[in-house]
Amino acid sequence: MTITLKNIRKAFKTNTVLEDVSLSVATGETLVLFGPSGAGKTVLLRLIAGVIEPDAGEIHVNGQNMAGVEPEDRGIGMAFQNFALFPHMDAFANIAAPLTARHQSKAVMKDTVEKVARLLKIDHVLHHKPKELSNGQKQRTALARALSAAPSILLLDDPLRNVDAKLRFEMRLELPRLLKDQNATVIYVTQDYKEAMALGHRIAVMNDHGIQQIGTPQDIYLSPANTDIARLFGDPVITLLDVVPERRAGQVVALISDTAIPLLEDYAPQIGQACILGLRPEALRFVSEDTPGAIPVEVEAETPLNEKTVTLALTLRGREIMVSRPAGTPGPTSGRAHIAVDAASAILFDRASGRRIAPVHKIIRKEEVA
């Protein structure tokens, strides 16, 4: 089942939530909608589910226009962020809800519910009411309910948000297999960039009423479309420094702490223009003073973060740079130190628009070869 959205617009009274959103998801694909709260991710899911109607634009499922099709006729499974379990029904009845609608026999229903419950490890609590379930069990029940009728389209609205870190991690590992077995087309909403990168075949980054970038996790992390997206992915956050590329000794460089940082030759058109240089903390490393291109910095503070050591350093002009390295590896804890930048991993943005400047190397090199 494919899902195609064409120029969707949705506003609540005067508050525009979605503006001209187009998107297509292929059969069996998991597309993650990622973005800060209020970006319209949930609204988009609800439009696809059919519980609200778009103001303009079309939603097609497998080529069929969904306008006027009731939610119960769309053949969709959905899990809600707040679980939305039916409080007066036990877990079994909750999971069986999509099956009762399809008028299946009691025996088939029992089999199906038990199978999906075993898969999600909640078969021992099927006769508990939602209020007797732990948070993790509620989340699994909600997921089981979405899966039980084996829908070919699954909409998952931040289903791991309200569960603890351990369970969230386990589910992050389990979900891709589960979804693959279902062979469903999945749209998954999350605010956690790690979840987005782990689960998505592609990620659509939403912000400002629309989709700002859509691509594989690799595309988004390594080539973010703008500084906002660069800041949303990565922990600790990417360091963004104002620079003006220039040419020194035949190389395109940017100056940090009066040290010339070599950039790719492909950034030659940006010489003399106001740019922002993005440096991922893990792309920086501490080096000895005599390493060519070493940037002198002052180490400010060191904090542990998930098995990494994050160092906050100041350049000679007092600009903050974050450097991370695996915990337990040696590094300076205070005073003067030197860091090196790998030219290939530096990302350049236009300062006025915040947009990434795509290196134009392929074209140039081909011309050179010719």
């Binding site: 609800r46 589910a49 059919g50 519980v51 009731e70 939610p71 119960e72 006729d73 769309r74 969709i76 499974g77 959905m78 809600f80 962020q81 707040n82 679980f83 939305a84 379990l85 039916f86 409080p87 007066h88 809800a97 999509p98 009762t100 609608a101 399809r102 009411k129 939602p130 209020k131 948070n135 509620k138 309910r145 009728a149 948000r161 309200n162």
Partner: protein
Amino acid sequence: METTSPVERLLRGIAITLVCLFFMFPIVWIVLMSFQTNETILRVPPSVIFAPTLENYTALITGKLETQAGTLDIDFMGNLWNSLFLSTASVAIGLILGVPAAYAFARLKFRGSEDIAFTLLSFRFAPPLLVLLPLTIYFQQLGLANTYGGLIWVYQLIVLPLILWIVRGYFEDIPADIEYAYRIAGHDFWSTFRRIALPLAGPGIAAAGLLSFIFAWNNFVFALVLASADKQPVTVGALAFVTASGIQYGQVAAGIVLSIAPTFALALYAQRYLVEGLSLGAVKG
């Protein structure tokens, strides 16, 4: 904040007892009165020690009111039955009409929905007498005066706004996501209303039903004007106790006890549902 000081606990106990006495006194006193004759009730000073008698209840149930001036026929049991029938029927019709309407006002925000809902509520503001005079004329012309149907219809003025506003609030408290989830699971609008919205608003519907029953039961003015003896509820029928030879306090008290008994029983029964409350543990993460 709990405290463990024994002095405070004692003081609190005394305070609670006083409050209970204050609120319970009229009811207890009336129950006591209903087992006394007019003479023991009216003696000065009053006393709680007396020889209990069932003659007030016998009089009410047999319909023979003994006064100094002789025996009066009253139809108290008929009145009681009228009250029961009128209130039950009004509430039933009120629920059938009011609950779906409340759902519509809660969920389907249509143009003017707020205005309509408010207009319905405003019926409760209007002084009943203002409505009654023109209504009496129309009812007589339509042949609805002194019929159960007519009374039940008028009672909707009391019952419907109450049900509408209470139940609407409960419907609004059900997270829309729960209903969406049921729709998406493949159930149509009506079965979602029946299987999800109705059970979850159950306590609210019970509360509204009980409250409107009490209001309907206690209504006096509508029935006084629109019903004659054979259709009168107890509230109007109680006027018969004010006789030429004085007020029959004992029988009035017994009448009150009998007439509050059904609502009391209903309240006790419904309490279970009222207290149960909406358990939305499934929604709050």
